[in-house]
Symmetry: D2
Subunit: 187 residues, 4 copies
């Protein structure tokens, strides 16, 4: 009766970070993994702005937002690092973004699906956008394909943050007085 550990990311490159990142290195934090394609309208209009809002609101409280560019179609149009870099620049996306490693048969012609990228396949994602939440112990706690509401995503994140919050445990203080993203209650 165990939750599934989140597979480590298999990537061909990183943007918006000086050093490559890994889920192992992010252990202890909540991780929002947002899989997208730059030519996916729902990613552009909803999922990426949402990921940015999560980054703005929760980074200071121990949530890491990681974008994952999982290209499974229109490889010629969106498969290059240059295309992704231009997209992230124009859309002012600042959180780290990994380029999902291409699958076995990446395909050559425009529009050809080819094999799924490796991380997308490891997570058995249905497509983009896919929103994944990973808890402090590195286990998958949420996996959604398509649009997720801010209310639902916020609740999931708030719930994970409240689990075994290291801030409140060690000194025996009232967990109700622990700082949360909502603030630090005065004694």
């Amino acid at each position: 009766m165990k939750l599934k550990p989140a597979p480590e990311l298999t990537v061909s490159g990183w943007l918006n970070t000086a050093e490559p990142l890994s889920l192992a290195g992010l252990r202890g934090r909540i991780v929002l993994l947002e899989a997208f394609q730059m030519l996916c309208p729902g990613c552009v209009s909803h999922a990426l702005p949402q990921a940015r809002r999560v980054a703005e609101h929760f980074t200071a409280h121990g949530v890491a937002v990681i974008g994952l560019h999982s290209v499974f179609e229109h490889h010629q149009a969106q498969g290059s690092r240059e295309a992704l870099a231009a997209f992230l620049h124009e859309y002012r996306i600042a959180f780290p973004v990994a380029m999902d490693a291409p699958g076995d048969a990446p395909g050559d012609a425009a529009g050809d699906r080819g094999g799924l990228p490796r991380t997308m396949a490891a997570y058995a994602m249905q497509g983009t956008p896919t929103t994944i939440l990973i808890d402090r112990q590195g286990r998958i706690r949420r996996h959604s394909f398509g649009a997720v509401t801010d209310l639902a995503l916020g609740a999931a994140i708030g719930s994970l943050l409240a689990e075994g919050d290291p801030v409140s445990a060690p000194d025996g203080s009232d967990p109700a007085l622990a700082c949360t993203p909502e603030g630090c209650p005065a004694p």
Copy 2:
């Protein structure tokens, strides 16, 4: 070093409920108390639709949404039960709504502020909309005047739901497997 207990509601009437409600009767649930005025544009466009979303998403998980009509201006226009009933009907608001008891000097002329309604005064609210979250032990955990984002409100609710969740404690099961608004994880 204690959190403040939420003052009991002082109301002159209830709508959308067969029996009068009280915070004491709601002990054990998370309570979202949404103070509004029917002529307050921000309440109509943002806070009340948000309260309805919270009711739809979280009622099954132990969150009670209560509206509080705290009229402190334009008493002639919005001070009557008939006006409020018509408003709730047209805006399809189904959660229970309390009419805040008038203050000492309610005022007669249109536009006159008069004294603040009693519950509004007891909570030292700044105006409408005011969003208040009360935890399972009946303590105030959030108090905001003005617009609150869905992300922030969702996180606050998710965090409160994760506190001392009665579902997971008694039988020693892994709290990570407890049902949350996001679902019930398969073992």
Copy 3:
């Protein structure tokens, strides 16, 4: 084969104007007549903000925006001048608003439909919101019940403004150089 002349307004009072207005007095201008009820959600969320945008954009070019509060339900809640005044104040509606004269059997109980207000009946309106456009000769050129898109409404207004534009006719100048809401093209 004639277009229908717009019936004169039959009102019980005016707000936001020092003097009572009439369609006869507005002859020569395009008139946007917006029928609404303060408790009608579609009026509050769409039609009234749209009427305000039309007033901001087109008043300088000969378009008059007139609101018509045509109450046919919830008379107790929204039938008074005070209620309407409070609503217009809170929603920052500055264009002139007429109170449609009550019909024959106005009804007493909250929620009772009663007879239709007189102007609403004269125009055979289906309900609120109703958007009516009247041309410079006082004829009805558009009558819509429900939401109208900005694109469609803008086109209708632009079309009516281009008809027999007094600015361009008298001096024989190129009508293509006439000022329009879009600006005055340099020679």
Copy 4:
């Protein structure tokens, strides 16, 4: 004192049309020319959806919507026909789109501005999105850089459609009875 004739388009290719188009071939219709870049957020979120709305609403009334992909930055990311085709497919853009002919020094490195594309330069456009309206006689009547409201754009189009409407002129009928995008008024 003449309006400026719209320069003919200089393009390197067309998409969404079996035959190449030209402004000369569109004479007699109103033309909405929408210059965009697929990596321009304002184009994706506002201008292109607006152009699609114009196409849906006005095509039957003699308005032609033409997209113009004027790439002046991030040439590697968005300069190819394949990239544009993938973008148009994913965003369900069906109106004809021309690829603006590259300027003198197109640039090689990602992000390099290079020379402006030829049509963009001929119109002295400031960037993307740029919205241009051309009248039935092929003259530029509107040229805006940045977001244009639906109300303003609708009014400009409605005004141009009302100019010398061939439908109403020949048989001496009342021009007020001519069909407009709003409908055909009953006699």
